[in-house]
């Protein structure tokens, strides 16, 4: 047999990691699926009771729906603010780009607990927002901003914004600048060029950013629980409560599987939209 070309490596080199994943990633997930099909906590009786318990329970369903809805709101806010930021980035001189990149990347690498803690300080009763409102006379007593839906959305948007901005920067910097000149030479104004030329061409980047932001926002356990407080329950905390505090492994496993399926569904949807938009963007 002829020896393999020097530019390619043997697929066997992937074996150690593949074995590691089979043992410690695939096997645990299979066990999770198995456990979710037990009807009792002592794991003796097979059945679909845990899934029925979740899917027929209005409370559990409302937790699922509010988690997905939270993801949608965070993703839209990230897109609304992240797109202009990426737009400004690609049009900035080199030095400004360096500073902007530091501002964009820093939150991504700062500990999630630290970032969430910052929002507790900002939104608290003695926080900066309340002090500003009180001193401007816009409020008589400190407002309750922590433990509200709006608070969770804004805090999550900051935490996940880099995941939206980075793919958008890549997509926007690939656009041929001549296209915009051509568009304006043909009489299209700034808004029209944006909607008709720039936006369609960046759709694959938008979809990639939305996918990452959405998946990160709905699974962001720390930010959800600390900024949302006890009143607002989302899927990650629901899963944790059932498994840890109540030791109800079969139900916690069923919640995990339903959550996994929901996330995979969203990922598939965004990937599909991304592929469709890529076809559209390339004509």
């Amino acid at each position: 047999m002829r020896s393999a070309p020097v530019t390619a490596y043997d697929l066997k080199l992937a074996l150690p990691l593949a074995g590691f994943f089979a043992l410690f990633f695939v096997a645990p997930l299979l066990i999770l699926i198995l456990v979710s099909f037990y009807t009792d906590t002592s794991l003796t009786q097979f059945g679909l009771a845990q899934y029925a318990r979740f899917l027929l329970d209005p409370f559990s369903l409302s937790v699922l729906v509010s988690t997905l809805w939270l993801g949608v709101k965070v993703t839209l806010l990230c897109l609304l603010l992240g797109f202009p930021l990426a737009w400004t980035f690609v049009r900035s001189p080199r030095l400004a780009q360096g500073v902007l990149m530091l501002i964009i990347v820093l939150p991504l690498l700062t500990s999630v607990v630290v970032r969430t803690f910052a929002w507790i300080v900002i939104l608290g009763r003695q926080g900066i927002v309340n002090n500003l409102l009180l001193s401007l006379g816009l409020a008589d007593t400190p407002l309750r901003l922590l433990y509200t839906d709006g608070g969770v959305v804004v805090a999550l948007a900051q935490v996940q914004m880099p995941l939206m901005v980075l793919p958008l920067i890549t997509a926007l910097s690939r656009i041929d600048p001549n296209l915009r000149d051509a568009s304006s030479a043909l009489g299209a104004g700034a808004w029209r060029s944006f909607v008709k030329v720039i936006l369609p061409l960046t759709l694959p980047g938008i979809m990639a950013g939305c996918l990452l932001t959405f998946a990160a926002a709905i699974t962001a356990f720390i930010t959800q629980s600390l900024v949302g407080g006890g009143q607002m329950l989302f899927m990650p905390m629901y899963l944790y409560q059932q498994s840890s505090t109540l030791s109800n492994w079969p139900f916690a496993a069923a919640i995990s599987i339903i959550f996994l399926v929901a996330v995979l569904g969203a990922v598939t949807l965004f990937n599909l939209l991304g592929r469709l938009s890529r076809g559209y963007a390339q004509g």
Binding site: P84, I103, P107, S111, V114, Q158, P167, S256
Partner: protein, 270 residues
Amino acid sequence: MARRTFDPDQASFTLVMGALTIAAITLLLAPTLVVVIVSFTDSFSLRFPPPGYSFKWYVALLDAWQLHFAAWNSFVVALWTTVISVVLGVAASLAIARSPTLTARILDSLFMSPLVLPALAFGLAALMLFSLVGLPISPLTLIIGHTVVCVPYVVRTTVAALAQLDTVLLESSASLGASRLYTFRRITLPLIRPGIIAGAFLAFMASFDNVPVSLFLRDARTDMLPIRMWQDLEGKLDVTIAAVSGVMIFLTILALVVMERMAGLSRRLR
């Protein structure tokens, strides 16, 4: 020169884009600044702006043995996680990066999937596995769990670095009589090293900051820093946490600047 006529369309577009950009930068930057400022407060509350400034919470940090213990644990686990992730991840990347086979594509998707799947569900699943096979919770189980969720960062940056590698260099090296191992050591490795370093750094940070997996795979003996901080925040709003946060932000900025110089980190995140 002709005076440019006022174009309301262009002006409104620039205005909206500019305003939203400023809002985005404020949103990204404000929390970090607020934490750093509040960590220098001289009061016992998290009031912002602080009534006065002092270093007393940083001094108090020197005696916070629980936080020292948790930080050391997190550091050791993150270090082992990074070493194992780099060894397994780089080997796997070499195998799949240039392979057009279906197996390679499937493996690539498998190795990347921990990035999008809810880590909390994986943490629970791993706990179930370990209790089923009778492996007690220990630093080892933590390192195994962390490696699964951190290895994708190494694979992603290394595969990207390998994809950019000019194959002509490898072919010339081979035609000049170099062995495969020699070519790897002298050509491939130096060229993909920034990618590996960036991936190792991201894996380390992801492990050090991990909550969802640690939540299930640690016990009192293996307390981890982010979980210690989270539990402190749930109970009482302690200003010491602000000082810990200040230290972590400072170290993160330092590491970020070093990594940008060494490995062009921000390019590899896209």
